[in-house]
């Protein structure tokens, strides 16, 4: 047992006894000081714990959702307006009025993009009454695009939209190239693929966009 200068009630094992001893030493009347009204206390405790839990939850939610959001299947397709290589202006919402639309984000320096282009062109030239393909070129100049097309055995029939400022690419938050997105007539994204399309893939994209 230790001897400590201030009180005799020190090394008491049981807290309550200790407190009582001390309170006697202070003043009998001081004892009531200790009590805080039970109900107020409970409300305070519960509300503080709940508030902090909520704030942590909200912060986590903001934190997890704040990252740049890519357009995914089921989302509404972001409307855009771009000029094509031929100098025409196209707008997605106008195209989707009566057709399904396949957006193909590509670049001439990207090998799978180069490889899937002729396949898309083959299918497109067989008829595209109920759908449209828009090949959105990501931030390249016309010389590069024309140079690429000139190397192909057949001209590309579908429009090539020029996204020089990457504003549409950014709006869709496109990651790797090629990325292909099918948009139906309601303007909803129904399919998305982030690697090279096979001929079968292209057909699936077409059928899903026109459903």
């Amino acid at each position: 047992m230790r001897k400590i200068w201030s009180y005799n009630c020190h090394d008491t094992v049981i807290q309550d006894t200790f407190i009582e001893c001390y309170n006697e030493a202070m003043n009998q009347n001081d004892r009531q000081v200790i009590n805080m009204k039970g109900r107020t206390r409970n409300i305070l405790r519960v509300s503080i714990i709940v508030t902090i839990a909520l704030l942590i939850g909200i912060t986590l939610w903001f934190n997890l959702t704040s990252g740049t959001k890519a357009v995914e299947v089921g989302d509404e397709a972001v409307d855009f307006k771009l000029t094509t290589l031929e100098g025409e202006e196209i707008q997605l919402s106008k195209l989707t009025e009566d057709k399904g639309v396949i957006l193909n984000f590509w670049g001439t320096w990207c090998k799978p993009c180069r490889e899937e282009m002729p396949d898309m062109n083959d299918i497109y030239t067989q008829g595209h009454e109920d759908y449209e393909i828009v090949a959105v070129n990501v931030a390249e100049n016309e010389q590069q695009i024309r140079q690429f097309i000139s190397g192909l055995s057949a001209d590309l029939e579908f429009p090539i939209a020029l996204d020089r400022e990457k504003s549409v690419t950014d709006a869709y938050n496109i990651g790797p190239l090629p990325t292909t997105i099918a948009v139906n007539k309601e303007g909803i994204v129904v399919k998305k693929q982030e690697y090279q399309l096979t001929k079968e893939d292209i057909s699936t994209f077409i059928s899903e966009s026109t459903e």
Binding site: S6, Y22, I52, A161
Partner: protein, 543 residues
Amino acid sequence: MELKEIKCESCGHINPPGTQLCQSCGKMIDSDYDQNKIKDLMRYDGSAVRSKTRSKSIFDRIWIFFTSVKVGVSIILAITVAAAIGTIFPQEYYIPIGVDPGEHYQENYGTLGYLYYSMGFHNLYSSWWFLVLNGLLALSIIAASIDRGIPLFKSLSRQHVKKHGSFFRRQRLFLNTERPADTSSLIDAFSRKRYKVRQDGDSYLLEKGRLSRYGPYINHMGLILLLFGSMLRFFPGMYVDEILYLKEGETEEIPTTQGQYYVKNERFVIDTYDKEDGEVFQQALSEGSDLVSNFQTDIVFYKNNSTDIAGSSPDLEEIDEYSIRVNHPFSFGSYELYQSSYDNSQLKAMTFRVEDSSGNTIGDNFTINLDNPESQFAVSEDISVNMRAYSPDFLEVADNGTLVSATPVPTNPAFVFEVINGQESELSLLQIMNSTDITANNEYNIRFVGAEEHVASVLTVKKDYTIPFIATGFVIFLIGLSVGSYINHRRIWIRADGDLMFAAHTNKNYFGMKREINEVLESNGFEAVNDKLDEEDNDKNKE
């Protein structure tokens, strides 16, 4: 722990056992202080620490868990360790822009790096568990403060003047002496020392510096505000810190303004100190190096009046012009644009000349703009050059004869040039400083003359609504710290029925209080106060 005298490491003063701060120099001596709570009755003025009583509901259990100082210290320790680990490898914002972070950490730092990445250490301050730890720290601070602060406040505000005789005897500073005819001069003397006097019959309570006891709670409030401010950074619209890469002459949308504002880089300037000037940095300048005196971006600030959709060209209205320099940001609304760095690593244009087989230059040089190359260049009256193909980052020649580029960035440009002289034409493939004839027996060579780089200014886009919270929190924190450290809570109890009983207590610096009291006592003809610790020491020495 046995009681023994403590020699201050700093000044050599011999302190009585149980001392926390050296009585001579004030250095912290007893770091075990918190573990020996039992000695510390007066800290909460003897009131019961609420959580130490009993537990009932789940909320009570959570509450009681977080009121524990041990838990609080463990959380702080966990945060500190996490922050330390976060410095082992670079944070994500220091790795090159555009690379996949997972691959980057794996490639550069191996498995440990991948582990580092997958556990969120690469983005420490926004990793979910770091946020949770900070939230729990807030809960711990609030719970512990309420649990101890409210009972302390109540007991201090409901103090009784009259105290039992045993209370007097138990105080460290105690005096029992013959009662003088008049105590009022003693009380007055203390009141002149700015003690507040309360009287109840023959009993007196003299008190000053009670605020000192609330120092830790003020300081905790500051911390809570600080944590709240840093939490707000995650709320949308409260905090923006983005990079804007702006080539000279280009106009770009300012990020996070939803296409409302655009900025144009008119000109980027680097000024250096004049070597002949002789005013500053003469020594460094004389060693031959150029010292930059100014980085500056001249901008035009636009508002976009078109609310049109993505991809459509904006309708820009010029609002302002400004020269952004280091520490002189351009502000609009709650945003600020800071000069951050610059980049001149990207090729903008390349210049070539044509020479004949004997090495004579023919006609004028021609320059190819790599961003948007033209294909025809008239070199002289007879001879023109046709750029047949261009690859910004040359990889290979494809089967169909076109040049294949690995990336769209002009880091290794290659060209196929056709030199046309009337009816004759010849082809050559040219990479920088390396040309290959495609057609046989070429008469003309195309030589690389020079290149021009893009000058891009890198600006930081900043917006921060959380600074007022964080700054206020920090000021409150410091106020709490000073209140707790520099103010002493001193109380003197005097009872003048029968003998004169005199007892004193302070929350810190007994040495100072003893001096203050003895000064007053002696000038009023009393003996000096007894210090129990001194007595105990003496007893021990006698033994």
